[in-house]
Each structure stands twice: as structure tokens, then as C-alpha cells.
């Protein structure tokens, strides 16, 4: 009987861990907050296009970084790749949630990196719509 209980407990724990790998309350809260400021439901498709887009044609050259015309310049075209910082060579864990489960769970950290990287790549702040699409894409990756 005790053995059965342990097994059940382990099974339940396993299910819980698997379940939370992609759905995370902290992450859900970040998405919900952004969704409240966006006009359309978030789309992984739009997020993917945003991630892969080369912004060099339409961005403010003075406000952006010539070395980073797109998200992929640093994060590579496959978000599940481990990457290196372009200037320092420091190894960064993959940006995809499937590969780095604690991604996008700290709202301050998420805001910090959107602020820094939207400026560097787009030459402006990102909209809530863009952020939400981007996160939705990454959560599915």
C-alpha cells in the first residue's frame, strides 16, 4: 500500500513538472498583463516573423546597433540553440522555453531585456503586441 502511494505521488509529481514546463503562473501573468495592453490576441506566427525579421531597412540607424539588425543576430535562427554574445563571446542559454524552462518568469528581467534589445534591434521600444507575440512564439518553442 505504501509502495502504491509512493508510486502515485511520483506519477503526480511527474505530471505536475511536465505540466508546468510550458505553463507557468509567473509567465502567464506577464502574458496577461501584456494582453491587456494589446489589441489582438497574441500569435506565435506573428512572433516568429518578428523574431526572424531584418529591421535594417526601416529602423532609426542612430538609435539602433548596426551589429544587431535582427533578434537572430544574437539568438540565432533557431531559438533552441545555445548562443554566444556577439561582442564578449559569453555563452548564453537558449532563449526557447523548452530548452531553458525558467525563461520569461521574472517580469522585471523580461522588461529589462525588451527595453535594451528593442532599442538595439528596432531602434525604438517594442509595442505590447510585439512583445506578446514574441513571448507566445518562444513559449511554444
Amino acid at each position: 500500500m505504501k509502495k502504491f502511494a509512493t508510486l502515485t505521488f511520483a506519477l503526480l509529481l511527474g505530471l505536475t513538472v511536465t505540466g508546468t514546463a510550458h505553463a507557468n503562473p509567473a509567465r502567464d501573468a506577464i502574458i496577461a498583463k501584456l494582453q491587456a495592453q494589446a489589441s489582438q490576441p497574441f500569435s506565435a506566427e506573428r512572433g516568429k516573423a518578428f523574431y526572424l525579421k531584418d529591421w535594417s531597412g526601416e529602423r532609426d540607424a542612430a538609435a539602433s546597433d548596426p551589429e544587431t539588425p535582427s533578434c537572430t543576430a544574437c539568438h540565432s535562427t533557431n531559438p533552441r540553440n545555445e548562443t554566444k554574445h556577439a561582442k564578449t563571446g559569453k555563452v548564453k542559454p537558449p532563449i526557447a522555453v523548452s530548452a531553458t524552462p525558467d525563461r520569461f518568469t521574472d517580469p522585471d528581467n523580461v522588461e529589462k531585456w525588451f527595453r535594451r534589445n528593442c532599442n538595439g534591434v528596432l531602434g525604438r521600444e517594442c509595442t505590447a503586441q510585439e512583445k506578446g507575440d514574441f513571448l507566445t512564439f518562444m513559449i511554444g518553442q
Partner: protein
Amino acid sequence: MTDMNDGAPKGAEASANPETDAKIDVWDAPTRFFHWSLVFQVFVALLTGFIFPEWWMETHIWAGHLIVLFIGFRVVWGFAGSEYSRFDTFIFPVATLIEHVKSVLAKKPKHYVGHNPAGGLMIFGLLIVLFLLTTTGLMILGGEENQGALAAFVNYQAGSAGKVLHSLLSWLLILMILGHVGGVILEGLLTGENLIYSMITGQKDRHPGDVVPRQRPPHVLWGAFATGALVIGAAALVNFLSSFPPSGHVKMDVSDTWKSECADCHMGYHPSHLPAESWRKLMTTLDDHFGEDASLDSATVQELTDYLVKYSAETWDTEAANRFREVDPAEPRRISATPYWVRKHADIKEADFKKSSVKGKANCIACHQDAESGRFDDQKIRIPRE
């Protein structure tokens, strides 16, 4: 202690019979071993000190420690060794020394079986200068590098003073080695004696009129005992002294915020690697952080500024902290622009900085494996292949 070897075997005495032999046993085996070992150690020390790059420092330090032990042995053997190894056979009155120099100048030097007066003086000089070199070396190691027996007891300033002395003494040593070898060659030319060969075989040719005393045999047992005690004592002393925490290191709890914010995109630059003023400047210009937007919320900026200023270069007495206190006024935030950094890396090729594992001058840790600890030990330098 009684003289264990006074009753030396008859055969040994017969072979050194002053009346009949054409060869005289002069340098005993331990003295010869000492001599050539010391030659090798000094050669290695000079090579690693003057010519080889910094990452040979460990070899240099080993050479220094061995030299001290061998000098210790030689001092013991100066009292316990066989006849011509003993100090009292090559201490001469000043008048005899002057007389000897005059006879050399007249190209008719008197023949000495052991050291001549000038050569004997040189041996004492070499032993003293080598001892001073090892002590000043230990001062630099302790003061500048925060390593070794004196790490806890010598500050950076004293270490730097030691460095000046160490450098002067090493040039003096080179001059003395030239004098020592020059003397050997000169004596060879004037008397036809091959002294280098003598230091290998231990024997010298008998010259007419040589005064050969009854040779005192070595006190092997107490010589070995004293040398052993010296080696063990020195090792224990070095070990004991090395166990004290190095001076100039500040007790610092590494900040978690610093780890997550300042060591996320690049290696963690130790607070002791820039002066407080530079850290303040750096923390107020995070939106243009060497070309990157590294902006942070004001609370985090304040926390990090407090941390970096509290443990800035002014508060440490390590080599790096002392050196990096002086920044380039035009670029006070850039460690690789400090005069010391520029000077130290003048011989590093641009191609080395461009290697894929290095990625530029900012990535100290690519070559200095202990960079994040703030130490920058010479032994921890490895330039990666690619």
C-alpha cells in the same frame, strides 16, 4: 658530535697521497653535484626571469626555492665537507688576495690546489647574492603576487621595492657569473689548468710546489643530517607561513545582484579592477555601455554602485588593484585602456585578441583563468589556441 669519518678507509687516503699522486682529489662528489645543479637552476631562473613570458613564473619560483635549498646545503658543506669544500680553505687575508691579483696581472699566478683567493671570494659573493635574490624574490611573490611564504606579511609597496632590488641583484649576478667564468678561463690560459674538467672529475693536476695538506675527510653523517633538517625545516616554515591569508585581500561576499547583472553578458569584472570614480562613471552611463544598452532600474544601479565602490581598487592591495587604480583619463571606464594594461599587453598580437574564444581585449578570462577572482596570477595565464 664525534667525527664519524676520522677513521677513513686506508684506500681513500692512499689515493690522495700528496707525495706520490700526479692527480689530487679536490672537489668531492656532493660539491660537484651542487655546482652543476646550481648552474642549471640559475640558468633556468635567468631564462624564466629575463626572457620567457609571465606564465613561466611557476618554473621561476621553483628554481628560486631549489636555489635556496642548495645554498643551504653548500653552507652546511662549507663546514662538513671534505678539505677543499670547507670555507676555511678559501678564506684568505686581504694581503694574500692583493698579492694574488698582482701575480695574475704579472701573468704568473701562484697555483692553489683549491680555490685561489679571488675565486674563493667570488664563491662567498655568489652565495650571498643568490641568497639575497631568493629573499627579494620571495618578497615580490608575497607583496605583488600575494603568493608564497610572505603573502601575508609583505604589502604591495614592499614587494615593489623588492622587485627593484631583485632586478639590480640579477644584473649583479650576471656580472659575477661572467667574472667567475672569466676567472676560470683566465686561470686556464695562465696555468694550463682545465678547471671546468676538474669540476666534473673532481681532480686537479699536481703542480710543482703545491702544498697539499692532509685532507680532512667529510662529516658525511652530520652533513646529511644538517641538510635534511634544513630542507624539512624550510619546507615546514614555508608551509606554515603560506597558511596565513594574503594581505591586501578584502573579505568580500560576492553580490548575487552583481553576478546576475554584471556577469550576464560578459565576464564578471572584479570590483578591485577599477577605482571608485570609474565605477561611478560606468554606472551612470549604462545606456551606452561600451556601445550596448545595459540600462537598469535605478534601485539596482544604486545597489551595484554601492557594492562596486565599497570594494573598489582603492580598498585592495593586490597587484591588479594597485595597477588599475591609474586609469586613462580619456576612458576611465575601460580597464584595457589603463596605462599598465596597455604596457603589459604590448607584446600580445592583435590576432590573439581576435581569436574566437577571446573576442577582444575585454575578455580577460579568455587568457587569465582566475580573472574573476581578482587575482591575475602569472601562473594562470594560458593564451588559447583559437
